[in-house]
Symmetry: C2
Subunit: 400 residues, 2 copies
């Protein structure tokens, strides 16, 4: 008998019909002889509706009360899903985050799970019940409700899978798995059978919104085998695990991130510590910077460019102006850029991967303005309007 | 410094505007130097909406999962009310039933409060916080959520007031207090300044839906001083306490109950134990019977009539047919009746009260078909169509 953790997002349980569909997926897994723990998010627009209710009354409500409000969303979805499973005639029980043993720190709105106490979960599983757990939520040491922030239900699912040493954690989404590129935009994409944690992390970081990074990091740390699959189409998805089997494949996919800005500082003094000063001030404000390019400017000055999320662009410019405008530095931001990347652990041991990518872009007539590489990624900065064309060209070069 | 418990029903917090109105009532009470604990129900139609969602998925859902679902309603209202109070600049915290220490038995859907552990409540009050508590809900010994059933939030409020030895428990409603008769239908009604628990219980039992009986019984048991008042009109309400002060007033009010049926069994054997058999079978099915009339029938048989809630009429007829149809008894039910009652502890020591009531009905040309009396009530059964006329006539006789 295997123990499977299944996670369903808000759109998978948005209405009665979808709740019944999810109930059938769960009971089919149970019927095969597995123990099943299910983590579910709030239905469809529930969270947004609750936030709107709060904003009508107090747009500056405390995070503690916001968490009290929002956690009601999953409470509704777990009980409805449990009722659906009852109607199919299977033993089931719904548990709130705190009932399922989720203990967190007190960072309301973005709490971190400190531990999952599994006594109650185990007791219900021992009675062969399907257990439905409210994702996204926990309890802090003051016995107050907390939420885990964005992508929190994925993290809840992985945390339960880790705590119960589950055989697999299935993350149900609206896609059937992880693809070599976005199948809605690129021809001849292939679904990956498996992928490593590090590759999955790069995919997520590079804009492919399949899995939340925090949940993948946790899965890697506790060696939880993930499967990304669809709640609408019944077929095997993509497995995420430490060692992926498709060693022959150089790269796993091509992704793009159009939600970025290039910030440039031109004409700053070429003295030691300038880059440190710049990036430590940005880090202190929570601005993550990515591709960095430093070059020699005129008259013994230097120029530094980097990319960050476009939502942070204005704040980054402001911070840099505070530092450099006095000494003549000119700070500009450009949001007409996109980052296109190839991801794959296989490229470490192969030469020619980068030149193959650059060649494909050259043939497509696309100019590269910045390049960045890691062990398992190569990223280029290009004109945002050409992003889809670039992804297709690079995908064709590698996947035909 | 006094400790005031305030309870607001669902219609009082139905939308953002009403939530702000309630927040101002609470903060005004707090500003006067009082500690304030607030018990609040789910907003407006929330509970009905949730029940509809459940019925769409599984009309026969377990009560355990229904309670999990419905308790989300108060979770939403307590957090929104806390946010409203935050916006007015007062220290506040919302607590779920279990956080506020409500422990209940495991009768999902109609749980009884076993105890209110006040540590958390007291801790928050000691910090001079306004405490907003979710009514209607608690936790059983399995650490599962329960609901208290109909009128549960009133009961929650009284239980907290009793546990904290509050100085007063204010129940905010859509009326400004308890009246000598329904002011929408009877002229010259008077608002009562105070009323005893027993009188209030009779009012509730007799159809005046101001307070839930269970909460009044609990208030009597723990000697909690109640005040019934309006959340819309700011004026003193009606105090409910052990000894009411208006000793001169013979009766406190006139009420009617049109939601009743008269069940008659004609021609049953006149042997000992027949009435016992009848009423014990009805009691076993949870059917409360009220006014009873037994008379001698033809040929040594007897006839028994009684009243019960009209919603129980069909079931009562069925039960009685099972018992008596074999021996020739004929069971009929009549839902064209109403019960009109006068209530008042003062009538115990005064003669002539009954004759004054009967005289008023006679003068109004209203026929009385059954009469029942207790220490503080006199009730008559009349034609339902004449109920309003009867209440007005009796009210005029006693209150001019």
């Amino acid at each position: 008998m295997a123990l499977i953790v299944q996670k369903f997002g808000g759109s998978s349980v948005a209405n009665a019909e979808r709740v019944m569909n999810v109930a059938r997926i769960i009971t089919d897994t149970y019927k095969e002889g597995n123990n099943v723990v299910v983590v579910v998010s709030a239905q469809g627009d529930t969270t947004d509706d609750l936030i709107e209710k709060a904003n009508e009354i107090n747009p500056k409500a405390s995070k503690r009360e916001m968490d009290m409000l929002l956690t009601a969303g999953e409470q509704i979805s777990i009980s409805l899903l449990a009722m659906a499973i009852e109607s199919l005639g299977y033993p089931v029980i719904s548990l709130l985050g705190w009932q399922a043993g989720f203990e967190t720190n007190s960072a309301y709105g973005s709490a971190r799970i400190s531990t999952v106490k599994t006594e109650r979960l185990q007791k219900e599983l021992d009675q062969r019940k399907i257990v439905i757990v409210a994702g996204f939520q926990g309890l802090n040491k003051y016995e107050d409700l907390t939420t885990l922030g964005r992508g929190g239900s994925d993290t809840s699912a992985v945390a339960i899978a880790a705590a119960l040493h589950a055989d697999r954690c299935q993350i149900f989404t609206d896609v059937t798995g992880v693809f070599t590129a976005d199948p809605r935009k690129v021809e001849n994409t292939q679904k990956l059978n498996d992928i490593t944690y590090d590759e999955m992390l790069e995919f997520a970081t590079l804009g492919a919104q399949v899995l939340n990074n925090r949940s993948v990091e946790m899965a890697k740390k506790y060696n939880v085998e993930l499967e990304v699959l669809s709640s609408m189409v019944r077929e095997p998805g993509t497995i995420v695990r430490e060692v992926a089997k498709m060693e022959k494949m150089l790269i796993r996919g091509v992704t793009k991130d159009t939600d970025i800005a290039r910030i440039s500082v031109v004409g700053i003094k070429d003295i030691p510590g300038n880059a440190f000063k710049m990036f430590s001030k940005l880090a202190a404000k929570g601005i993550n910077i990515d591709v960095i390019l430093q070059s020699v400017g005129r008259d013994g000055t230097k120029d530094i460019s980097f990319t960050c999320a476009s939502s942070h662009a204005d704040e980054a410019v402001e911070i840099l102006n505070d530092i450099y405008s006095m000494e003549g530095g000119v700070v500009t931001s450009d949001t007409t850029v996109a980052k296109v990347s190839i991801v794959g652990a296989g490229m470490q041991s192969h030469s020619g991967t980068a030149s193959k990518m650059f060649g494909a872009l050259y043939e497509a007539g696309i100019n590269i303005s910045m390049i960045s590489t890691s062990e398992i990624t190569i990223s280029v900065l290009i004109d945002k309007e050409l992003a889809d064309k670039a992804v297709s060209a690079v995908h064709k070069a590698f996947f035909g």
